[in-house]
Structure formats: structure tokens, C-alpha cells
Symmetry: C2
Amino acid sequence: QGTRDHPPAQAALRERLLGAVVSCFKRHGAAAIDTPVLELRETLMGKYGEDTKLIYELQDQGGELLALRYDLTVPFARYLAMNKVNNMKRYHVAKVYRRDNPATTRGRYREFYQCDFDIAGEFDPMIPDAECLKIVHEILSDLQLGDFVIKVNDRRILNGVFAVCGVPESKFVTACSTVDKLDKVPWDEVRSEMVGEKGLSPEAADRIGEYVQLHGGLDLIERLLQDPKLSQNKLAKEGLGDMKLLFEYLTLFGITGKISFDLSLARGLDYYTGVIFEAVLLQQENEHVEELLGVGSVAGGGRYDGLVGMFDPKGRKVPCVGVSIGIERIFSILEQRLKASGEKLRTTETQVLVATPQKHLLAARLKLISELWDAGIKAEMLYKKDPKLLKQLQYCEDTGIPLAAIVGEQELADRVVKLRDVSTREEV
Amino acid sequence: QGTRDHPPAQAALRERLLGAVVSCFKRHGAAAIDTPVLELRETLMGKYGEDTKLIYELQDQGGELLALRYDLTVPFARYLAMNKVNNMKRYHVAKVYRRDNPATTRGRYREFYQCDFDIAGEFDPMIPDAECLKIVHEILSDLQLGDFVIKVNDRRILNGVFAVCGVPESKFVTACSTVDKLDKVPWDEVRSEMVGEKGLSPEAADRIGEYVQLHGGLDLIERLLQDPKLSQNKLAKEGLGDMKLLFEYLTLFGITGKISFDLSLARGLDYYTGVIFEAVLLQQENEHVEELLGVGSVAGGGRYDGLVGMFDPKGRKVPCVGVSIGIERIFSILEQRLKASGEKLRTTETQVLVATPQKHLLAARLKLISELWDAGIKAEMLYKKDPKLLKQLQYCEDTGIPLAAIVGEQELADRVVKLRDVSTREEV
């Protein structure tokens, strides 16, 4: 349940999509790493907050207690700590596992690909963070997914807001996860969860509401830097200062048009410590695809400066920032589009079919195809001793093979091969 | 235990290796499929004989009982049956899981890649089988792994041998797994296991010994076709007839020089029904690498005509033949060779580093690198506001970036960029 086979047409589309993402990661100078699907159970515990219950655990068959990785970020942090790496720009494309309620029509599965790009190391502020946003912008533009917006916030700003609104520090995390719902439900509902379930005072909730419903650009950052309460909070001030710097760099990249500083963005995971961001596709009018799939997040990430230290025996910290591309959702959209367009994706790359027009010519076909393979040419033949020429040409049309190399009795006598263009029927 | 992280240098070598294998599979017209790492436990049970105990099972967390796939063949058969596919040429490159005793120095892990190519469908005999052997030949030649031999046998011939030597049919499978050890231990030991543990009569064991120590080519096939006992056995006769046909096709492919018809080859798995084969690298004199790793199987496969039927509710059969490339062993060999050669593999593909020679030029770098990325050029910069030029050039040398694009005050004034060849130090 919640997993799927990819038949050739899907596998080919996925290869194309992953190829586009990986080529962007390589364009930004990232190296690949690979880590096992299996991690020690203890490595994953205590990293995902409430979602820890969604981790797949292996049966105790003697030996270590194992679990399937839940994301690629925690294994990356474990890798950095284990190998004492202080400094790395890496990408990782691999499957992760979550015992979630699958919603397969919306592209949500229990086994799914993640495509992560992360920069680890002590650097000048916001330069790597800005690059992560540039990457999201490049990938979503390249894939022509339609209009999108990248929401940006900072955990330090959020925590500053909570502090100045009178939320006790012990409730920051839970307040954060309630704010995170603002992209799906209206403020009224979020407010009543805060006051009811989460036990904040109505006054605190109202004050929070005034902040988290704000979104904008550089102007909003400047305004909040002047805010009488926020400007007194050390964390918020730091966060806003860095946000200003980030916008400066994004302006140089020419991408602020798609960026929204949005105080309602909170992100679910515990480990973020600074900038956070999330890209959403915008609903397009008259587009059936988006209606079917709903709009939603197609990329997200942020800064997590404390995670590596959790795996280091001496607590040595390695600051990190990274982005994860929500490839499954994008895949679902591209798949629906392809279906709607009626375009048929080739599932093989075969260039030529080796064919014979008469019987008793299997040997000639085997010899010729062997020569083609050895010359690096992608070639197929039917696995019949004496197939009909029509069947052979039909196979070319069905699978999109552009050429047929035909050896008949005459060609053998003349020591030539007849090359036929399948679509134009021209022969040479 | 028995799993490993792949740091960038290994990941890059692996990408190159898998690329070579996949390009061979594509050259032969295969389409890709993907299946989940998780399979229903019941799908895997009863398919691997004694090795069933090596299957990783997931904890029962409610819902289905799951296990990690043990190979890619059983999931392929399940896929064909579930989707009622009668006919398919597919490749699949993915990780599989075995709770085996790891021998990591020899390239044996609990999590490892398999690279499988299979042809499913009802065809004229031995044509797809011959193609599988051609593929093994191409891949091992392409990778320049040194001299190798591909051993070929047929389960029907082996079973025929057992029958004419007086082994009861109920003991064919167990006799088969004992014969399989002949590549590692001498005949004496195999014989005493047959007589001792497996309970065959000494006479039967001796008769088996006369056959299974034979190996050769077409001449041996002809001799056995005339063998007074074997020629009377229906199964053996069928197998020998097909073996003769196979050699005919392999002669047309020009690869019989590396093929050995070897009656000791048995292969461990239960599901083979016809041709079986295994490629081994031959020990090379004075080669340290092979000594370290030992010689052994680097590819194997065979025909399994009954497996798909086990997953079909009506038992509908789809004959299959396939090959699996032992990528981990090959990887270990290539890794050792690379180490011995001292060659350093680049882990990134960055073409140019954007650098500045003076302070306060971060904005210029950000603007230029953004233009390069948008033009599809692989570019990096250091994440420092004011890095020293020497540090920037040093980074190029360390990571193999061939060019530096330098913007200084003069270049900005002249509206140019200085391009420096890192190795020759030429500038334009």
C-alpha cells in the first residue's frame, strides 16, 4: 500500500525529470554521495518530532535494530559527523520511506524519491542560503511547471514573534507547528487551535495573528526592523538582518519576483534553526491538471545548524543549509500533462531494427546485429527464426524505432545492407 | 553492518560504472522499470531455497507484512504477472538486501546494487538466451577487467545427468547445490558431501563425477549427444540440443572464445529451468588487485520459465531469461585499480570558478555566476565575502576546475571578464 511499480513509460519520464534536477545540482558544483537505505534505529529517533511514528522499523532478526531512512537530511548529517567532514556541497537522489496515509492521486506515497542539495560548512551569512533558493528557481523554471512562488521565513524571526507575543519558550515548537497550518486553513481555525489545544492565551494568539498574516518583500523586512517590539528581540533582529541580506543577494540573482517573505511559513521539522523556505505552484485558471492534483509545495528546505552536532561525540557543529525537491508531486503533474497532450514517450532508445524479408536468414541477422552492437549502435531484432517483414516494420512503428536495416537474399549476394527510414519508407 | 556510505569519489566511480552497464542494456533495446524496495513478505517466501533465511523482514507495525527485496528477478516476475505482461525486454538497476555474512573486502555487502537485464516472452529457442551472453561479453570487454570466461550449462542437462546416474528425482535439487561447490572445492570433497550429508550412493556419486568434471565446447556437446546413457534421457537430450543451437548463435556473435560449456556449473537458485551461466574473471599473474579480491563470479543468470506462473492466479506461464551483473565485485576491482594507478577521479563537473582579486566585489561575483548558471554553465564560487585570489585558485586546483572567471575593479571598469586557464595560467 502506498508504493507503486513504474512501468517503462513512467520510468522514462522519471529518468528525464531526475536528469533535469541532477543536471541543475551539478551545475552548482555539487558532488554525489550515497548512503544505505537502512540506518540504525537510534539514528532516526528524536529527529522528526511527531512524525517519528511514521518511521518503518525492521524486525529484530538478531544484530542491530534497523529502520528505513525517513529523509536524506538526517543520513547526510550522520555522514558528515561520522567522517568528520566540515565542508561539503553534495546532492543525493534516492528513495525514502514514511508510514504515512498515502494519497496516491495527489502524488503522496510511502516510498518516494527525494532530490536533495545541501551545503555544509562555516561560511559568510546567506551566500549558500541564497544559492539554495536560486536552485529552486532554476529547477521550477526549467521544468515549465507554470507560475510559482517561493515563500521564505526564518525560524529566529518566528521564535522572536512568539517571544514578543508572550508565548513561553517551552511552547515555541508547538506554536510553530500550529502556525504551519496557515497555508491550508484560515486564521480563525489556527487561532482556536492555539488557544484550545495548545493552551496559549487569547491575547498572545491575537498578537501572533497580527504578525503571521504578513507577507511581502524588502519593504516588509524594513518595517519589521523598525517594529517597536520585534526590534528589541535579539533573535528576531538577527533573523531580520539576515533576511535583508538574503534579499540583497536574491536581487543580484534577479529572482526576487518569485520570492515572498511570509511570516506564516513555519515548516514541520524540528531541526531547522534559521532560514526556511517552501516553493508552491500557483493555481492556474482553466487548468485541469492543477485542479486534480491541488496546488501545494514542490520544494522546501532551510538551515539546520545543530543537526550534525547531534551525531558528533563531541557535539562539534557543522552549519548546513539545503533544499529538497518534491519530485513525486512534480512527476504527477508532468504525467498528467503528458497524458492530456497525447504525446507518447519512447521507452527505449533503439536506433535500428535488423530485419529480413525472407526465411532462413537468421544467421545473417545475428551477424549484422552483432556488428552493430560492437560499433555502439542501439539495435534490436525480433526473437523469431523467420518473422514476417510486415511484423518487423510494425514493431518499429509501435516502439518508435526510426530505421530498419534489412538483409535479404539480394542484399547478401550484393554484400550490402538496405537501410529503410520507417516513417518516410525511403530506402538506401 | 555490511552496508556502506559512498563518499563522492566512490559515488563518481559508481556513476561511471553503472553508466557503462546501462548504456549496454539500452544498446540492446531494453526499457527501464522500477519496483518498490518493499515487497509483500509472501511474495519472496519459497523462491530462494535455503537462502530464504537471509531475507530482511520489516516489523509488523500494523497493515501488511513486508520484506526488503532479495533480488530484482522475483519482483520482475511479480510485475509481469500482476500487469499481465507477456512480452518485455527490461533492465533494472537498484539495490537489493541480504542478511548474509558480509565480506566487505571482497565486495560482498548486505545492501548492494544489482544490474539486471531480462527478456520475457515466448520466442524461438536460444535467441534471447544468446543475447544475454552477448551482453555479458560486451560489458566485461568494455570495462577492461582482464581475461574472463563465461561458463554455460543447462539445468535440464544436469537433471539428466542425475537421472542416468541413478539419483532419485527428490534429490535433484540438493545434488545440484552440492555440484555447485565444484568451483571452490575439489571433487573429493564434493563427492564426500554427496555420499555423506546428501545420502547418495557412492556409485551414483562416482558416475556423477565423471560427467560434472567435463568442460569444453561444441565438441563436448556432440560427444554427449552420442553418450549411450545421456542420449536416452529426454531432458538431457533437449538441453544438449539447445546447447548446440546456443553455440551456433554464439559463433555468429563471434564470442565462443570466451565461452565454456561446463557441466559443473549448477547455480544456487531454485527457479532456473534451462540454460544457466556465470562469468568469472581469470587470475592474472603479478596482479595484486586480483590477489586481494580473489577471483570469482562477476555476472550470472539463466532461464526461468516457471517463476512468473507462480504469481499468476491462473498459473499462466511467461518464459524468461536474464542476466545479472555483479556490479559490487567489479566496483571493488575498479576501485583498487584506481587506487593503484594514483589517478584522481573528479567528483564534480564544475567548468569555471567565479573569482575576484580584490575586496568588496561579492555583488559582481553573484551577478556573474547567476548569468553563467542561467546559460547552463557549471559554475562555483567560494562562499566568502572577500576570499583571497590565491585561495580561489587553490580551490580550482584541488577540485580540478579548469577555468577561473575573474572580475576585478579593472575588469568591471572595462566591462569585461578575465578568463584564466588554471593549469597553464594563460589569461584572456
